[in-house]
Symmetry: C2
Subunit: 227 residues, 2 copies
DNA sequence: ATACGATTTAAACGTATGTTTGAATAAGGT
DNA sequence: ACCTTATTCAAACATACGTTTAAATCGTAT
């Protein structure tokens, strides 16, 4: 029986001694890497299976199709990441709510940005994923975008609510556009984590994550709070 | 003789009564539209020539290859746009220089952003081009990116110089990153000029360009000037 | 040992792609 | 009218792609 069909009925219930080798994970890793580096369309299943050192048919056997593989690649990391981001956001809302205060804009943004950028750290196994999401955010109307948005909606609504709390003087219109701007910045630095053209030699592109996070929060918070 | 070979030797010197029909322009328009809407790789020459109502071979005859067509599409609008942006920037530097002052950050950013976003106006013939550039900026290492950067370098250097003048207290390091952030925001709104997921119903996505420019300058200037 | 389901493998399938070809047509100069 | 050149056109080319197939192999329970 095809593995991806079985998964549909027995999701997560790998039976008998976990007999399966790491084929699935190897495909996910290779897909994540190549989708992030070259984009979805230019990446062929043959390049993925070569890098993963598995047979060409393994992708269709385990995932059903190239598109489903992309979905699996996204879900594997986005699900836990969103759990962390939502957890931190709810904790912040809880804490400030009990004190009868509004959260600060910087703190709200931090719950979203910090867990994201921490994945970007060099050598991390989720390094490629960050760049992949950056690319996806830049492709309106793509299948990837649809998959991504499906997983983002609840978190986005909550984030928007928290930001409105922290910036009560802004109109919904203005708030939305500024969130839009801030997301643009974030997706941009998610993509560019390697030295590119247009970057002067004396600029440190490999800035420590913690510094980058504060640098970005300085920028984004000031932009959001602009009078 | 192939047209694109002739162009190499007699660039811009169409001789005798401009006998050529609008085939080249129709291809450029269709390519601009489809590259912007679907991306470079997913767009086939057949879809371009169908939309342009020309023969399939016309692209290779007039431009040489799909990649050269992309280059022509980019150059057609980027060249005049950059001339305008550089002109406004030099005028600003001249004016403030003669008064012995530094330009303001907002004015410097305006010379770059205003001509760009004005192209985004609905119904404009360069509307698609803005989205295309937005996409290109989101694809590091792509051919499109290389073509684009080649045309941007002089302007970028000058812009960086002017921004350093307007924000003398910032370190080069910080200045670079904030420019990076601002460019991320800009490329994001260049892509998203249609209603997408994640956009609340009561938000006006078709905001007048002048309002959008000021809205964005508020955000970007505050971010650049953050203390 | 045997049987059985899960997985791997090599090969093939059908289709879509960018590009090339060579003939046909159009246009202008002499 | 004729020649020359530019352009259009239908057809074919070679290749790369995602997917499917059917046999081979592996692992485990009986």
């Amino acid at each position: 029986m095809y593995d991806f069909v079985r998964s549909f009925f027995f999701y997560g219930s790998r039976n008998h001694l976990m007999s399966q080798p790491d084929t699935k994970q190897r495909i996910l890793n290779a897909g994540e890497h190549l989708f992030a580096r070259d984009g979805y369309h230019p990446t062929s299943l043959r390049s993925i299976t070569t890098e993963a050192k598995v047979n060409l048919a393994a992708v269709n056997y385990h995932f059903g199709s190239k598109e489903s593989l992309l979905e699996a690649v996204i879900e594997r990391r986005l699900e836990p990441l969103n759990k962390i981001r939502l957890g931190q956001l709810e904790a912040l809302l809880e804490k400030t709510g009990q004190a009868g205060e509004s959260p600060t804009c910087r703190d709200v943004l931090r719950t979203f940005i910090e867990p994201t950028l921490r994945m970007r750290i060099h050598g991390s196994d989720s390094e490629d994923f960050v760049a992949l999401i950056g690319r996806i955010l830049a492709e309106p109307r793509s299948v990837a975008m649809k998959i991504f948005m499906h997983h983002m909606e609840p978190l986005m609504n909550r984030l928007f609510y928290a930001l409105a709390l922290s910036l009560p003087e802004l109109s919904r219109q203005t708030l939305f556009w500024r969130v839009h701007f801030a997301f643009g910045s974030l997706s941009h630095i998610m993509r560019y984590h390697e030295r590119q053209a247009m970057i002067p030699e004396d600029v440190n592109i490999d800035m420590p994550v913690d510094d980058l996070i504060e640098l970005f929060l300085d920028f984004a918070t000031a932009g959001m709070e602009a009078s």
